[in-house]
Symmetry: C2
């Protein structure tokens, strides 16, 4: 591997100047910089990450914490993060936090403490107190996406407002018996996103003078299959039949569409279905949804972190939480209820 000395020799300057010219920190005359750059690219020189990091304390690397790699939402956010960081010249180190407690501890106690990263982006991670403490103890800037964590700088949509918007869309179409597929009100108290969406749903109902009906709740796990099962349950059970379904994720909404079809309901004629997220398959299924632009969320988070990192001020830029955009996208899965 060609090292900085060779470049220095070729350019007829000291290694210090090469370092300055290539990193852009410190003053170098234009002609000198040009010579150095020429020599570097001629020799194919690239700064060694470990040597540079050791000397400077900067890693040019950010860690990303994800709970799942193979779910659309997470991989899409990750994709946004990756492209933004690459543009800024940062590497990205991936930490897949499984539900295995021991493995998770490992990540916090060992992997993240190797001083490999300048900062961390955490995607929709539900951290327990011990983990939050360890994370903060790293002394690194951390930006969380989704599911507000009071102890971390968080970038998130207002999940409650998003759900309210989706519900109000249904209400404005004349629906009154609206079912809810999503959080289990009994067990999911710790999971912010599902719960916030459920609360937003109920909020909208109450604002319209309607009381939530217990029989119209069906919990599901945010997958297509889960949504399918829940919708079958909802539509198959005798009693009050919903004219619309609010699904707390697009994947569940798609499952619900499939279930409705299978039972012989026409969507949206017999049943309206709305989702949340902005899933790539939404268009294909003509799904009305509230898009939260996950790709953009990833990009924003990455850019916020990098600004933080590259801001020399002692005071980091304060990010006001919760102000991510969302938008109702009306497609073909919802229609007026003429009751």
């Amino acid at each position: 591997m060609v090292s900085i000395d060779e470049v220095a020799r070729h350019a007829g300057v000291s290694t210090a100047t090469v370092s300055r010219a290539l990193s852009g920190r410190g003053n170098v005359s234009a002609p000198t910089r040009a010579r150095v750059e020429a020599a570097a690219s001629h020799l194919g020189y690239v700064v060694s990450a470990s040597a540079s990091s050791l000397a400077s304390g900067r890693m040019r690397n950010v860690g990303v914490l994800v709970p799942f790699l193979d779910r659309w939402f997470f991989s899409t956010v990750l994709s946004g993060i990756a492209s933004a960081l690459m543009r800024r010249g940062y590497d990205i180190t991936l930490y897949n936090l499984t539900s295995d407690r021991a493995e998770r501890r490992q990540v916090f106690e060992t992997f993240l403490r190797r001083q490999r990263v300048d900062g961390i982006v955490a995607i929709s991670i539900e951290l327990d107190d011990a983990e939050t403490t360890l994370l903060r103890g790293l002394g690194l800037p951390v930006i969380a996406i989704g599911g507000p964590n009071p102890h971390l700088t968080t970038l998130t949509v207002d999940d409650s407002a998003v759900a309210r918007l989706a519900t109000e869309h249904l209400l404005s179409l004349g629906h009154r018996d609206i079912a809810h597929i999503g959080a289990n009100p009994e067990f999911d108290i710790d999971f912010h996103v599902p719960t916030q969406r459920r609360l937003g749903f109920e909020h909208a109902l109450r604002d319209a003078g309607l009381a939530p009906q217990a029989s119209l709740y069906e919990p599901a796990d945010f997958t297509i299959e889960g949504g399918f099962r829940a919708a079958k349950q909802l539509l198959g059970t005798p009693g009050v039949r919903p004219t619309a379904i609010f699904a707390a994720s697009d994947e569940m909404a798609i499952g619900a569409i499939l279930a409705a079809r299978e039972l012989g309901y026409r969507v949206p004629d017999d049943l309206s279905i709305v989702g949340i997220d902005g899933h790539e398959l939404g268009e294909f299924f003509r799904l009305t949804t509230v898009d939260q632009f996950p790709l953009g969320q990833g990009e924003r988070a990455a850019e916020a972190l990098v600004s933080d990192l590259e801001t020399t001020d002692a005071t980091p830029v304060p990010h006001e939480p919760g102000q991510l955009p969302y938008e109702l996208i009306v497609r073909g899965s919802t229609a007026r209820h003429l009751g």
Copy 2:
């Protein structure tokens, strides 16, 4: 950050001994090692990655090249790689190779040359010659998954055999007019996987004494939507109507199932459909498929790479290419054709 000196002081030994005790290289008496470990964990010491790398030349980090982050197959393979590497104590840095030529060059010419990784796993990347050369020029062990690249050590299923198996399944059920959704025979010559699958399909047909019929080919892009469109086309066009569809990916097969339903065909009664991959939604759609166990592929590749890395022999373990397992999973999307 606590450094090695503090640990040495606490344990009453030299830094060299601490290094040896913690890394497991070199001899340390059991009691000394215990003291060192106690001191380290007491102080919360973790070796600095950059210092260790600079001194040893080992990074404990592998780079992963992926073309897409948000497609099921790739994120599943990635997931397998991540869990295997984490178990072995390796970090993983992610390089998302987009189709943007300039960005790709950046990855090969800068990112990968920072000496941040000990080795590379490339998932189904179609590399041009320049890129292959740059990759080999890194002097790092590289393992590719999928789409045999003659210049790289490759782990891949025999895509042609996989496709043949899927096709033979249909033939054994009595189907004769089998449509093909997948590679575009004219334009996809450079893409190994689609092409190999098409060849396997044709191979099986010929072995059964059947000639491929041009009108039963419909190219698609390996997505659900693509499969949907292709199937509509195939089933809607007057002329020879296929009794079965071979889809070169599960996602396209799922799209085809949806298209068939929409047109009023019952699957499998009126039309059999088979896919390839082992997609997580396969069970939900009762899709007959040939599973190639992508999670396991990722794990295997990671483990092969790590063995390579940790083998002191000059001669790296030779991996015979192409011998990954696959298995026909018969579910409900295929049935006998009683012609």
